[in-house]
């Protein structure tokens, strides 16, 4: 049983972790929608420091509205960005018009 399902509205947290994290800054704090569950993968934050026995984490593909990500750019309303986010960087949020 995964914590999120396709269609859920989620927010990417800004965990302030240092080192090898795979969550780029431009997507932190942003609100999006789960589109796909990718399975479990070893956490790159562990792998980067040689820890190959860490717990595997759920990975999701999450869609964001490009117009919300880049408010200063002239972006057609329907354009989207889809990015992979590990479970521990995501939190549930109330349904909102911010998500595509």
């Amino acid at each position: 049983m995964t914590r999120f399902s396709s269609g859920d509205t989620v927010q990417v947290m800004a965990l302030g972790k240092t080192g090898h994290v795979r969550i780029p800054h431009y997507i932190r704090h942003q609100i999006g929608r789960i589109v796909d569950y990718c399975g479990t993968y070893l956490n790159p934050e562990d792998l980067a420091v040689g820890n190959t026995s860490g717990r595997a984490v759920d990975l999701y593909r999450v869609a964001f509205s490009q117009a919300r990500l880049w408010p200063n750019e002239p972006v057609p309303q329907q354009d989207m960005l889809v990015i992979e986010i590990y479970d521990h960087w995501l939190t549930h949020v109330e349904e909102t018009t911010d998500a595509p």
């Binding site: 780029p24 990718c38 399975g39 990975l59 593909r61 490009q66 750019e73 329907q78 354009d79 992979e84």
Partner: protein, 205 residues
């Protein structure tokens, strides 16, 4: 945006200032390993040759098969890795996600963090794919980037940018050209470029 279609595209090894500290460290490490007998120069050269071998482009075979076989197309979209392996292409990536272009949707692939790319299918990424300019601009202003590649995407076509930031690797399935039913697979394969599979090109003709 540099856009070199040449066969030999240099990999980026220096930063913007032209520093090569990493190269110096790698050379020193290689010297130590060779002196200790853990590695031979010949092995290093062979590994580099394999990495840099250009022209690996098995994507066109996959696309031509999907255009001519609807059941295969369905399998490719639901489990890209398994469908690619059906064609005897050894896939080293954990999962291949195939995203389909339609009359109203265009897909573009990028890796904003480094150079993630479906290498077992497309070989090494072109140097522009690894450039900081492409990695930053492909998410912030993808339509301008596409225009620089000669693709003026109409406003009413939805652009979906896929940031390949973690464990998935992506391929774009382009739309078939008009009259595809009259083409032999070998003719189709000649029309399908690497750029179509990354999404910086759209119409196959």
């Amino acid at each position: 945006m540099p856009h070199d279609h040449g066969e030999h595209e240099a990999l980026v090894i220096e930063d913007e200032a032209g520093n090569i500290e990493a190269q110096i460290i790698v050379d020193a490490l290689q010297g130590v390993l060779i002196n200790k007998g853990l590695l031979t120069a010949r092995e290093v050269t062979a590994a580099i040759a394999k990495l840099e071998s250009p022209g690996l482009h098995l994507g066109s075979k996959i696309v031509a098969k999907a255009w001519t076989d609807p059941a295969y197309r369905a399998r490719l979209l639901s489990d890209g890795r398994a469908a690619v392996q059906e064609l005897n292409i050894p896939v080293t990536e954990a999962r291949i996600i195939v995203v389909e272009n339609t009359a109203s949707v265009h897909n573009l692939i990028t890796c904003t963090l480094c150079s993630c790319y479906p290498r077992s299918i497309l070989g090494q990424p072109p140097s522009w794919y690894i450039s900081k300019a492409y990695r930053a601009r492909s998410v912030r202003e993808p339509r301008r980037v596409l225009a620089e590649f000669g693709l003026d995407l109409p406003e009413d076509v939805q652009l979906v940018v896929h940031d390949s930031n973690a464990d998935m690797r992506y391929l774009v399935l382009p739309e078939p050209p008009a009259g595809v039913e009259y083409l032999a697979p070998s003719e189709m394969e000649k029309m399908i470029s690497r750029d179509h599979l990354i999404g910086v090109a759209r119409a196959v003709k």
